[in-house]
Symmetry: C2
């Protein structure tokens, strides 16, 4: 099949003199611009429950409410870079699994003005989560499967922790996405340390899904996935038969 690229430089394409002249006169600020923020949902699993990292707002609006770590994107960084910078600055977290989630832009979502926020979600194992400088709250997910909807958090005393802005909606979107990804991508490993038992992996899946999974089928499926490598080591200091430790391996090209 013959394909040809049209010559463009001579016609004023990218990098041409005509383009340079046009851009020199271009006024992007002729349009009103919103602010662009990045918010990050940091999730882990601890003792069979999904946890999220949050901060208590020290300023208006929604003073005192819990909010996701976030901030404004700088003009010299990409969205991904902004998310990683905020995780580092606010929570002290680096090198975590991070993925863009959804962009929230309802006109009234922030009373300070028009702020479009690009939400990300990050997954970390429980050790790193507990070292991060954030408040930790258990999630209260009122819907099954991938139904979707808002998700609030539960304080240690059992009271509901009201979230700031539309962050309950963002959190709900993150949980829905994570549940959806869990079955067909090797994302559960991101919530575990380097070596783990099959039971620990199953606990992760059950905590994320909010329901039990079949043990036999789960073991078979995981072992057949090609993502697990037996280490030969076994867990210690348990009062039952020690399970073998496995390691996550990125599957070679299929």
């Amino acid at each position: 099949m013959a394909t040809k690229k049209t010559p463009e430089k001579s016609q004023g394409g990218r990098g041409s003199d005509a383009e340079r002249a046009f851009l020199a006169d271009y006024r992007l600020d002729a349009y009103d611009r919103p602010s662009v923020a990045v918010d990050v949902v940091v999730l882990t699993v601890l003792e069979g429950h999904l946890l999220c990292g949050l901060y208590e707002r020290t300023e208006h609006p929604d003073l005192g409410r819990l909010a996701l770590p976030g901030g404004f994107m700088r003009l010299d960084e990409s969205l991904d870079e902004a998310a990683r910078r905020l995780l580092r600055e606010k929570a002290g977290l680096t090198d975590v699994f991070l993925e863009q989630l959804f962009t929230f832009g309802e006109p009234g979502r922030d009373p300070r003005g028009r702020i479009v926020t690009v939400a990300y979600f990050a997954l970390v194992d429980k050790e790193r989560f507990l070292q991060a400088t954030m408040l930790r709250r258990r999630l209260s997910i009122p819907w099954p499967g991938e139904t979707g909807g808002e998700v609030d958090v539960v304080n240690d005393d059992g009271s509901t922790g009201a979230l700031a802005f539309d962050h309950a909606s963002i959190l709900g979107t993150a949980v829905k996405r994570l549940r959806g990804k869990l079955d067909y991508t090797p994302v559960g490993f991101q919530l575990l340390p380097a070596e783990f038992t099959l039971r620990e992996l199953q606990d992760i899946h059950e905590a994320v899904r909010g329901e039990d999974v079949n043990k036999d089928s789960f073991r078979r499926r995981m072992l057949a996935s090609g993502h697990l490598e037996a280490t030969g080591n076994h867990e210690r200091n348990v009062t039952w038969r020690p399970a073998e430790l496995y390691r996550f391996i990125r599957r070679s090209a299929v």
Copy 2:
């Protein structure tokens, strides 16, 4: 389980006098702001091929190249509303399946300045697609399954239609998402008119996936999905045995 909401209005919560005073002094424009645009990938299937709606750029930068329909978000509309407005204004399309796709914000993606674009994808049946005021191009997808990557378009003469900005990347993201959704959500119907045959539905799936599907299994799966309703009518003006026409029904609560 006892849950209690902390009283907030008295402490300066949403709607309080203290919050109003804070917001009155708040200067959001202390931060530099990017522009926020919305681009829409309009897809359909025609004669076994995925098609996309595009425009030839009449201004710098990337003058003469093909670009997705898009434009800047207004401060008084949501992102979804901006996408629907742009579809209506640019293509004359209303009431189409529309879903947020991904937000692209690399600092160098547009030489006019820092423009973050929230990409959407829209699905329409071929009749409506052909009525829309857009250029139509077949997609050239150089990767299988949901591998992902850039996607270019093919002109009628077989030459490659170079896309403006990072739109080949956006188009690739749209195709990847559509392929991913096709198997577990009833999204294929969005690419067909109200009544269609099982063969037409299979053609949609094959065009989107870029590979053949098993006829027997496909029929069984679709009929068992609960999303199809036989109309009793049959197709006409075909040179073979006419197939029954089906209608898409939104499945009641599972």
